[in-house]
Symmetry: C3
């Protein structure tokens, strides 16, 4: 008899394990605060999708006390001093939306409670202290200012996004609208959310008054929140599941890191790593903490190389977790207008180059070195990344890979320099006007040379390759053809 | 003892449930008509793929009588008066291919039976009455005529698809061939299938005579069938599984709704909704009827917003099912050449604008209002869509979203108007000839302005965004650059 | 009691089956050679990802003796005379890396063993004899020479990939670097790997000496290996799982067969076949040998049509396995510069056309027939492919499909001819210089006509369609617009 009992229990155990893996979302609500329960009672009717999504989250199933009780490497919370009044309730609606109301311009009275519309990184910091701190100094966190407080980039934004009018054959441009900014550049970079006052909205059975927010909805990485903080954790951990699985899958990064300017996703899809991911995707474990290389996954997703805590099966830490997504990067591929060592500060609008412009390189490629990390820091970061690569590749494989990348950065930068020379000659010969370097046709070709084609090749090189991409699709074909087109335009304009 | 028994049975039950979820396709054929059994006996040898695909379908497992016995919300059939001779057999080869033979020019004698090659919406209507009726009045159903019976669009088709010849430096164009039309425009819009007679085909062990069909194979949404009906249910429910799962997944819509002209799929892939779908895709339920928001799925696919019957977990209907895919749409994003209220009739070739052309807007944006739905109807449809959004988003979130979209429609239409002015100035100055507004180089830039770039931004705006897409990939970058290119072309041509 | 026992055992059995399906990778190492065990002991520490990946492979679980004992149709090895000293060990590190060391310039002493860095097709041939032999005569195997030993294509490569410099308004080009070739053309075609000597690499706790390889890492299909063999089995069966599943999924082919020049993947994604694959992907069986149409899969992946051993459920062979990926192809879609019958030899650099150039067609489309397969061979191959199609489609469906494709090939070739005529007129009028037919702006438009737009439409036609792709995305729109642009460029240059 005992055998059957044990066997049956074993099967039950294994089986329940299998079921849980794919999520048994039956709401077995335990340790829910009475405030959160009140939210749920009403919102299960008004917005069932939100409630169900939250029910699928770890937040709905774990109290901070339980989360803190795990061995350090397995923890998903990093503040050892979570306020005691929060420790024994699961992380529900009220726990998050009632944080720091005194700082929140978007806080309002809602059925007897003071809550905030937007939960900001500063609120998440209550439990996820280290992550919020790392993030707050990253380039992502400064993504709004890095674009909009930099007069050069701001001019590029305005040139692209402003509505144009044609009068007497002349094209003029208006300032871009908030709405268009919100769904173009600031869709990824983040908007500056403002509270305009309160407004009344009509529900299916009555009305309520809620804060009237400008430049919202938005989940850009550098969003300026109504509490003054920067960023949106929901960029990568979507509401209300706040899933580590989603954040670790490349589809998340694919929301913004796209061709033609930042084609990380496009390159990944065509790489060997991508092939293995897509082929074996459903067999891997995306929720394990720490994340075990070779066991939980067999080829990297974006998060593996850039920020997750990676260990080997025997517990050796291959890479520490970081929510500063540049922490393992030494060179900045992204040509603005040439590749360069990573900036020291996440706030790049403070950079001044030798031309006096807030750019990391001059027009001809001279580095604004004072604002960029030095050789020692570069070497340190490179060795962190190489440690990840070497979990699956030999040292000589890895070294050769990065040597090849160095050549690519040099050559694509030379191709940008060639385009720059053609543009300068057009300016010198009064064919175009350098007042705005982004609005005329030869200038636009120059922008495409570094922003689209140069960058595409650089990303392809760094990420072990998308050969057809580097060749014919936004690669060397375009880089060479674009230069030839610039020359043709110059000759045509000279002959008018 | 009893505990073990119950536990074991419970496990068995749960486990078998899990197995069934992933489809046990063992052919347990029951209630098959003798005619269908005869088809299968032969076709299991000649075309095993077809037979196996059908075996995976609900059609092979359910009789109409069983289908009708379900509670109304759970039904997949809508005709309460299915012919009694069909009610007790599963829906097999003969049941579908022998419908209404008298109307079918493609009917023929095949081993003693009179059958049709093509099963049309009019045949599917036998059981799926409401769906076929809704579909038959939709724009999709008229997709062939909407393109080919509209002289303006037909000219665009011919200009693109005709083989060009070069003689003495001049380019002339032939009429497009049926074959090229079939695999370009009419691949999605549908061909007009004609029966040319009979032909003899060689099988591996003999010959048979079958109808000789012209413009076939094709599964375009507005296909003109040999029985005179319009449409192809197999556009979205592929033969012979006729799967609701496939139709509800976005890959189906991705067959046609693609960049650069209708980039719904491209936008979805890069949106937050798409991210969540791709990350959690394998955990959702795509076959449940009705479809429960928050439980069966946690982010929308195309079908969720546009046509499925959506309920909340407590059974409240969030949106009724409709096979008129425009039923929840108030504004037509698709700029032809400007956005406009949805047309009243699915047949858009009947529209006449103030210029006398069969277009919903004039050249400068004036609406052909008489043929378009009014404000009340627009508001009604918008409220249906908002009801879907509000299952997961607050009312103020949703309102802000659509306000933003309104600004985008206005601005992209202004960018089209700017391009129109440049083209008109080129015509006025005899740089190009307005006889065919699609064939010269400035004209082609004008087409790209609304058909590619304007539309891309509009879709991105409506679908909660693909920011990089709206910015650099067929977005504002192109919209602005294209205008500048038009200006350059004009100046170059003026100076010749 | 017995009932419970049986039931419990049944459940256990079923359940373990389910678990195994998703891979229980617990290393139950059996029959590992002592040499391989020694490799693992060390590499589990230095490169755990490699070891874990291999543990997930069939190689780690099967001895050649076991593999050979299967019925012939189920076998994955084709050499009946595998060396006896290998037959009783699983296929581990040492078994593969110690093959034929005498031929390997990359062999070296490593902890007491003589091993090779690169395992070549000639090594895999030890067990996979037929596959290696078939591959070695295919176009893929000759992909390096077919590009680099053909002076015309080599000139195209150099024109695209060489770094350009601008001096006095003139553009000059350097020879491409090995690094850029490695990550563009040769990323897919394969590099020529050379051994430069030995080098010392720094590990985390010491140094080792390893061969210093040039043009490596690379997994291109025509890689020239240090043992003189051609190809890399890891192009499609990635190290170290060597998975048949991955090779059978389309993501593998998607590493290289991409828009704009060879858009098989792009077309597949938008086709009905692709829709069904993506919708049902996780339910199919990708490891069964032989592969059963209708049961293991319900729509084709690349491998189904092009090289896998396909049978019907009753065991009838629908198509034989071939690792010559052109074995089922009669016409070569790929326009160089026009479509043509498949070449007789995988080595296409031996072709000479009537102009004396190593191209399968002349400038105006005349075939180099002597080097191309004849009508009888074309018919034979076509019937093999049609046999695959007819597993799921009727004969008349299939015939109509290929008739349509023939028209498309003819028409797109006519569109290339039109572009050729314009380019020749530009040469005749000294607007451009025909010395290098790839470097000037009208010439580049000519290249795009056949290499990008013509090819895209041809692939779309052959693969049952991606209608929007053939129309607006690298299709007829571009084909027609490009011609118009060529005409404009000619007129502009004539008027300078």
């Amino acid at each position: 008899m005992k055998t059957y009992l044990l066997l049956t229990l074993l099967i039950t155990f294994l089986f329940l394990g299998a079921v849980n893996k794919y999520g048994d979302n039956t709401p077995k609500l335990q340790n829910v605060s009475k405030e959160t329960q009140e939210c749920i009672d009403c919102h299960a009717y008004y917005s069932p999708g939100i409630v169900n999504d939250w029910l699928s989250s770890l937040h709905s199933k774990t109290t901070p006390l339980e989360a803190l009780s795990k061995p350090k490497l397995q923890r998903r919370v990093s503040n050892e001093n979570i306020p005691s009044e929060l420790q024994n309730y699961v992380v529900g609606c009220f726990e998050c939306h009632s944080r720091n109301v005194e700082n929140h311009k978007d806080s309002f009275e809602h059925n007897g409670y003071k809550i905030n519309v937007i939960v900001s990184p500063n609120d998440c910091k209550t439990c996820h202290l280290e992550e919020a701190n790392q993030y707050s100094e990253s380039k992502k966190s400064y993504a709004y200012d890095n674009l909009m407080a930099n007069p050069v980039y701001h001019l590029l934004v305005n040139t692209i996004d402003g509505v144009k009018e044609v009068k007497d054959g002349k094209i003029t441009s208006r300032e871009p609208s908030d709405e268009t900014l919100m769904e173009t550049c600031l869709g990824c970079h983040g908007t500056k959310i403002e509270v305009k006052g309160m407004r009344t909205v009509q529900l299916k059975d009555g009305t309520i008054d809620v804060p009237d927010l400008k430049n919202w909805p938005n989940q850009g990485v550098g969003r300026i929140n109504p509490d003054g903080s920067r960023g949106a954790c929901t960029s990568c951990h979507p509401r209300h599941s706040f899933s580590i699985e989603i954040a670790r899958k490349p589809y998340t990064c694919a929301q913004c890191h796209l061709e033609p300017d930042v084609p990380a996703w496009d390159v990944y899809k065509e790489s060997k790593h991508g092939n293995i991911f897509f082929s074996k995707e459903t067999e891997w474990n995306y929720t394990n903490v720490p994340w075990v290389v070779g066991k939980d996954f067999k080829a990297p997703t974006c998060a593996v190389c850039h920020n997750s805590l990676i260990v080997s099966e025997d517990g050796e830490v291959k890479a520490e977790r970081s929510h500063d997504f540049g922490a393992r990067l030494w060179v900045r591929l992204f040509g603005l207008t040439y590749s360069h060592p990573q900036p020291k500060s996440g706030n790049t609008s403070i950079i001044k180059n030798a031309d006096g412009l807030p750019l990391p390189t001059t027009f001809t490629g001279k580095l604004a070195s004072e604002f960029l990390i030095d050789k020692a820091e570069m070497d340190k970061r490179k060795s962190v990344m190489m440690n990840v690569c070497e979990s699956c590749h030999s040292t000589s494989w890895t070294e050769n890979h990065f040597k090849k990348m160095d050549v690519t950065l040099k050559e694509t930068d030379e191709m940008t320099l060639a385009a720059t020379k053609l543009m300068v000659s057009a300016w010198d010969n009064k064919l175009e006007d350098n007042k705005n370097p982004f609005d005329e046709i030869i200038e636009k070709h120059w922008v495409k040379q570094w922003l689209f084609y140069g960058n595409s090749i650089k990303y392809s090189s760094a990420m072990t390759g998308a050969p057809d991409y580097s060749s014919f699709k936004l690669g060397w074909w375009e880089l060479s053809e674009n230069l030839q087109e610039m020359k043709e335009l110059i000759e045509a304009k000279e002959n008018r």
